[in-house]
Symmetry: C2
Subunit: 260 residues, 2 copies
């Protein structure tokens, strides 16, 4: 068991997976805070910690506070979070919030951004997840490396500007591609066809971009300029107006990237 | 070497991969036709066949003609393709063209639709690719099973209606998710960040939907309703207008699927 004491403020998907990974690597998670009692309790149970639903009850004198909240909650709660903790090391986990959000509230702060898609009931292998670190002083950055280098083989440093871009790129690569799967499944469901018919296609699409740039790996009616097929598809989507508009727009964008 | 003789009409990515797979499993590819001499020659060379750029020179008396052309070319060329071949078995490989396109032009016809994304320079393992068969008579369907059952462990039968839906669903699952990767890479490129930072995220996104329905696997600012992040992202995309519009529309669609 490592001697450092850690508190998690927030118990969402990212917090849950990160807390579990730290706990499993020997860190002592002292306490979990969440406004939702059930979430606080669940995560606390998983990592053998206390829990609270009141920020005023968060323990003082802890080595590392990991704050993992929705961006707007994070920003509005910072004054309370930092109450009596100006000398503790405090990090948030957000891709899109700059490090300077801590400025004026504490003296030792940073960011730990694990770039992965975390779902509550799906285990992840933390050792392959890129983690991007930033801190307000070299000594604090060194401490963050101490905490996180053992968790993943891909620990990097990134400025707030770089992290913002990484997060935006991740929304396209992960969140939006997943929604394309959702729309695909919805189309199949409407006709009683099983989504698992798509698995090998999806796996190959993903495997391919490890070898070929995605723009060069593009296939399908839009890149072929097969207007006859695209018109038929748009017609078939008449009862799914969002999907129809997405079809039109994404096809245009594919064609634009071809001509460039 | 199997005794059946096969001619490929078309030498695009799908034709290339299918012809190679058939050739490697022992079939004799007699001839390749393409309007583009270089394409015809390249594929013919790969499968040890003759080639021609004139439909009038396509060999007669062949056991199976595999027609793999863009949809509009296929439809406009059918009368020429079928010239003197009314008794041969002829198939096309299109997801979105119904079997009836052959009606009146021949007596023995069908469809062989391998559902995969084929790029010219990326080898594929045909044995895991779903292949959907359709034929105008049970005897012809049986023959198609003879040809293709040995090529893949996932050979199914599908009507023209089902195939149309499978193809549309595949455009979302494969072509459109790949374009999300392209936009992701474009964002990273503009800031000098490497696309391979996204690999583990993309791999996990793909792995997850083998276990969880994509709608339930959705993560990110849109499903969390994190408007602050979405507004920042839209601002960052001001110099990529298509990507900005896609961001807006896909986020809306994600939120719609949440509330349903």
């Amino acid at each position: 068991m490592k001697t450092k004491k850690i508190v998690f403020i927030g118990a969402g998907n990212l917090a849950t997976h990160l807390a579990k990974a730290m706990y499993n690597s020997g860190y002592c998670i002292e306490q979990v805070f969440s406004r939702t009692e059930q979430s606080a309790q669940q995560l606390a149970h998983l990592v053998n910690a206390q829990y609270t639903t009141k920020l005023s009850e968060v323990l003082l004198g802890i080595d590392l506070y990991v704050v993992s909240l929705k961006d707007d909650a994070l920003i509005s709660l910072i004054p309370q979070i930092m109450d009596n903790k100006t000398e503790s090391l405090v990090v948030h986990t957000s891709g899109s919030v700059p490090i300077d959000v801590w400025k004026g509230f504490g003296n030792r702060y940073g960011v730990v951004y694990p770039m992965q898609t975390f779902s509550k009931n799906k285990a992840v292998d933390f050792s392959t997840i890129p983690i991007f670190l930033e801190a307000n002083q070299p000594a604090n950055l060194a401490l963050l490396h101490d905490y996180f280098d053992g968790l993943s083989s891909k620990v990097y440093e990134a400025t707030s500007e770089q992290r913002k871009k990484l997060h935006l790129a991740a929304v396209f690569a992960c969140n939006f591609s997943n929604h394309m799967y959702t729309l695909s499944e919805e189309i199949l469901k409407r006709y009683g066809l099983p989504f698992d018919a798509m698995y090998s296609l999806i796996d190959e699409t993903t495997a391919k971009i490890h070898e070929i740039e995605p723009a060069k790996a593009q296939t399908g009616p839009a890149i072929r300029g097969d207007q006859a097929v695209m018109d038929k598809h748009l017609g078939m989507l008449s009862d799914m107006p969002e999907a129809q508009e997405i079809y039109r727009l994404v096809s245009q964008s594919i064609q634009k990237y071809k001509s460039e």
